[in-house]
Symmetry: C2
Subunit: 683 residues, 2 copies
């Protein structure tokens, strides 16, 4: 018998307000739930939801608890059958119960807990104790017969369409027979045997009396498609695909780059905004305040007479070109992510068509963006809480759905923390209620509470502080927060190793070994990571004293030689291949750090969800010098006896080491290798 199907939740419970007197059982501290159910934890299909709760009642009766779950119907209605899983009391002293279920399709998945006093199990426990103590149990046997007869009645309730259980006339007959035997005139000792029999126990569990059950509120889990959890992202400016530096590359030209990106093993290609760019107050090369006539401007200054957020920059091509680009990517196994940057250049059509969507100053001008004393005169913020908010929000939803209509199902959202937080909750819900497979990546580098709130409010993934966490202690602390704290239930980190805005000093100064180290860290610490193009070339030239790229593609058209000496494309390709073939690297929750005797060596492991192997990563954080030392292998995770040798195979090089015991030696020499990605198999 499938353990998960031994009992179902009587659907009548869902609608019934249990009488106060009947709710003897208390269910509290249910996990996972975010802010008492206001928000939902996130999963992808096939992932388990481990449910825990404190469950107790007065007195000493035996309790039974189940968690019932089901996908919400696509329309959000309450159709669909509840699947019930028995919960287990794991810690009697703290009344902690738990169970797990697995989610399947994208969309809302519902669960609720029910718990009740199990009169038969209580009776059975007491019967065993009393008969063992030699007490007379004649009355007890009659009481048991009554309980069994009641269960038999429940076994024919199948005619009631409200009851979701596979009732059986055979079960009923068998239960009635047991009841007769229990109340028979036979010897007590024989009847005790019937009362304690395993068969009776099994069948009684199948037809429990849930009339006095306490039922929790319905709680939700949001299920995204798998790409929400795992993926390797590649960001590039399509206009840099131009063979002529004097003009923008086109989307058609950028298509030629896609095979290389696919060969490198990436899953998502993310393009900065592809819309027409404003002319007024356009920024020049290296962020100069005035642009030369041939400066193309920042793609984030959106809008010109050629169109706004639903148009393609004429230099890049047309909507048809974008559709062709997307199709080419998909044929290579690449998904295209677009940028949502809700701001306008002074030349955006909305400035004249919908001036009410902007904030006006006493002289009638539109307020540009400011962070006093800094001024951003090329950007007009939209007024998300202004008098015309309804029409504005609707228009932004329409833009999003426009791109969804053109096949875009991943959006990278620019600076969401500077736009109304309720807006995001609304927008994402509106889009995902139409297509639960649309994903949103939050680019909010701000305070933890705000980053977390955006994730709770609906963002699928979030940028992180990873670029600024470079020492061993920083990495250990921050990844523990990202993968082991409550926020891991709803905030999925996307570890970009660089972005057009962030070229960390570690990369500027560390050269190729630094790029190697950060690539391996990003790609193995988190199931989702990304690089901005140029990383694979170890491009490290910055505007001095800043994290800005020198001659940044944000403000000018660049040309790249993908075969330029010193690149690390073989490593990128190898790492992405390992990620694809090793499920351990496709999840975050199993990440654990391990001791090393050298502060420049960071070591951590992730376990295969099937429990067959462990991926152990060791990275030399020092891009300059050889570092060696001993790493403490987590033999407990591996169930590896400490006294036997075992093979440790480096998936980057294929080299096999013979290790023994906990502490094993590693040596990582910049210029030779910066990291090990070692596979350890269960013996």
């Amino acid at each position: 018998m499938d353990e998960r199907r031994t009992v179902t939740l009587d659907r009548r419970l869902a609608d019934r307000r249990t009488a106060l007197s009947e709710m003897r059982v208390v269910i509290e501290a249910i996990a996972p739930q975010i802010d008492d159910g206001r928000f939902a934890p996130k999963r992808t299909p096939g992932e388990p939801v481990h449910v825990g709760a404190r469950i107790f009642a007065d007195g000493h009766d035996v309790l039974r608890a189940i968690v019932a779950d089901r996908p919400a119907a696509p329309g959000g209605t309450d159709a669909g059958a509840w699947r019930a899983t028995d919960m287990t009391l794991v810690s009697p002293g703290t009344d902690h119960w738990r169970a797990a279920f697995t989610v399947s399709q994208p969309g809302w998945h519902l669960f609720r807990l029910a718990a009740w006093v199990d009169r038969f199990q209580t009776w059975r426990r007491d019967l065993r104790i009393k008969s063992a103590a030699g007490q007379r149990v004649t009355l007890e046997l009659l009481e048991g017969a009554l309980l069994v007869r009641e269960a038999a009645e429940r076994a024919i309730d199948a005619s009631d369409p409200a009851v979701e259980r596979a009732a059986s006339a055979a079960d009923r007959q068998w239960l009635l027979l047991q009841a007769d035997l229990l109340s028979d005139s036979g010897a007590d000792v024989d009847r005790v045997g019937i009362g304690l029999s395993g068969d009776l126990d099994q069948l009684m569990r199948r037809y429990p009396d849930q009339r006095q059950a306490t039922v929790s509120p319905v709680l939700r889990v949001w299920v995204d498609r798998a790409r929400a959890r795992v993926g390797a992202w590649y960001e590039f400016f399509p206009r840099s695909a131009s063979p002529d530096p004097a003009r923008s590359g086109t989307l058609r030209e950028a298509m030629a780059w896609l095979p290389r990106i696919a060969d490198l093993g990436f899953d998502v290609v993310y393009l900065p905004p592809i819309h027409p760019i404003g002319r007024r107050f356009r920024k020049g090369r290296n962020n100069r305040l005035t642009a030369a006539d041939d400066d193309p401007g920042s793609p984030w200054a959106i809008g010109s007479p050629a169109g706004g957020h639903d148009a393609v920059d004429p230099g890049l091509g047309t909507i048809a070109d974008f559709v062709a680009f997307r199709g080419a990517a998909e044929r290579l196994g690449l998904e295209v992510a677009l940028d949502l940057a809700w701001q306008c250049s002074p030349d955006h059509p909305w400035v004249t068509e919908h001036p009410e969507w902007f904030r006006h100053r006493p002289d009638g001008t539109i307020a540009y963006a400011e962070n006093p004393p800094k001024r951003y005169q090329d950007i007009y913020p939209l007024d998300f809480a202004g008098p015309a908010w309804r029409e504005l929000w609707r228009a932004l939803l329409d833009v999003t759905l426009f791109w969804v209509g053109h096949g875009v199902r991943i959006f990278r959202v620019d600076n969401p923390h500077t736009k109304s937080l309720p807006f995001w909750e609304w927008l994402i819900r509106e889009v995902q209620s139409r297509d639960p497979g649309v994903l949103f990546l939050s680019e909010a580098f701000t305070r933890p509470a705000v980053m977390r709130y955006l994730a709770k409010a609906g963002f699928t993934q979030s940028y992180t502080y990873f670029t600024w966490r470079n020492t061993k202690a920083e990495l250990i602390d921050y990844l523990a927060e990202l993968t082991q704290s409550e926020s891991a239930e709803y905030l999925r980190p996307n570890l970009f190793a660089n972005t057009p805005d962030i070229l960390h000093a570690y990369l500027q100064e560390g050269g190729r070994p630094a790029f190697e180290a950060r690539l391996v860290l990003a790609a193995t610490l988190a199931a989702t990571y990304g690089i901005y193009s140029g990383f694979e070339l170890c491009e490290g030239r910055a505007v001095p004293g800043t994290e800005e790229y020198l001659d940044s593609e944000k403000y000018q058209i660049r040309q790249w030689d993908w075969n330029r000496p010193g690149h690390i494309q073989e490593l990128v390709c190898r790492v992405n291949h390992i990620r694809r073939t090793r499920p351990a690297l496709q999840f975050n929750d199993s990440l654990r750090f391990h001791d090393t005797d050298n502060p420049a060596l960071v070591a951590y492991s992730k376990a295969d969800p099937d429990g067959r192997s462990l991926i152990l990563v060791v990275v030399n954080l020092d891009p300059r010098y050889m570092q060696h030392g001993y790493v403490r292998v987590p033999l407990d995770r591996l169930e590896q006896p400490a006294d036997l040798p075992y093979p440790a195979r480096d998936l980057l090089t294929g080299v096999r080491y013979d290790w023994r015991g906990e502490w094993n030696y590693v040596r990582l020499d910049p210029g030779i290798r910066q990291a090990h990605i070692i596979e350890l198999r269960h013996p």
Copy 2:
């Protein structure tokens, strides 16, 4: 100007559903609240409620947050004015805000948070930055004038009865003048001075624009009278006041004991059940299964032909005698607590009048209490979740109100964890809605989750595991849990040092020094503590191998010589006097333990709420041997410079020690003294 009155909460907010677009501010993680507001934290009049929350919005605007509080009207209606207190951002990195208010009268006290984007403060901050940077601010000054004019309009809203603020025509005129000056043609620099003036700031804070405020749900605090927080309890069996051991003492005779109890400094006299005692299956002396004819039986086997829970045992007297006893106690400053033990002897009138309130067996008999294989045939449990639960619950409420009607406002509740948990929540709410000053002490020695739930559900105080916490580590761990964990918000410990059921081996074996140590611990670790009579005589004779008293008063009538050698009544009197005169000992939250260099010496301190002094207690936990060593005095709590000498006065002996620095020497010798209660005053 009273800082707490600078702004009020616009009452219209309470009813208004703020438009989604307007709620830019998020308020989350509000504390204190228990189980997301399902239950309430507890306070007594004069105690502060420290409110904290994470509050943030999109972008970089200046926020303002208030907590508004008021007593709920007696009838529970929404009358009464909200008092507003400004919250302070205490940790910008975590967006943590806080404020405090003080509760006054017993009953429900309500609070809610409101937070909004403060457009004027944002404007003022930016004006300061821009003008300091030498930027032209002409437009900004006009914008400021508009904000000030809007505030002036709010200053005449006093005609609107929905607005609870002291609006002022003078304020309005002054604000209009400032607005005129800001939009005047004067020099920018002068107008900037007006915009940044402190006077304008003050008045603008008084008339904020709360239209787009985010308002939290209303949260509750339960306010008990002070006796809920602080008190010394004394338990005794009134039938032991008999001059003739062959008959029960009467309540009139027990009155003669009250002056001694009052002189000892107790506040509450708690009597075990005073009702008629059943005859059938009555327990004999020392819990024998059969009683002799003259055995009086256990007072917890309630009910006989003479009556049930609303009657007085004829041996003790009449209701009139109880009223006289209560009056005599009150004249001595003693309050009388009665026992609520919801169970019946087989002779209880309800057994025949209301058989439907009990569980019946197949042979028609009523089920007696069991904990298999143990049987308690003298006790019939009531069926709290049975078919007649409504009438039963009502009858139990009537019994409680009967005693409230006879002046009883404290109840000690017997084994509440074996009765329906929802019943308690209902009963206590019903009683306290009639008289919020009625207090309930929970006698539930069970698992932490259940003990805590009873406290959350309404019990004023709870018995604890204190009797079983005797080592230094046990005391430190357990008191930290009781006074520093979240449960301290709702579970008030009552540290009974002994009970008729619990005479711990430490007392049985340790003799007088053990009683001294446990008295000082109970009386100074918690604001509420108690002893069961005999403790002051160091009565330590037990049924061997158990924690039961030998010849327990539970089953027989005893006689006591209160002047018997070896008593510790002077110490009890002294300790209770110190408790009454030192507010530090009347609260639990300031308890901190301190290092000693001797594991037999436990040291802790409590701070006077007015911050003037510290009570430092040092107890020798070893009842046999002299223990001495060094104690680390918390000079930081005292703001005492480490290099100056300071006086340490022992309030038990009046002896003054001259201490210097952190570590000071103590010596505690059983037979001389077992503890110091030292007062340290701020320099």
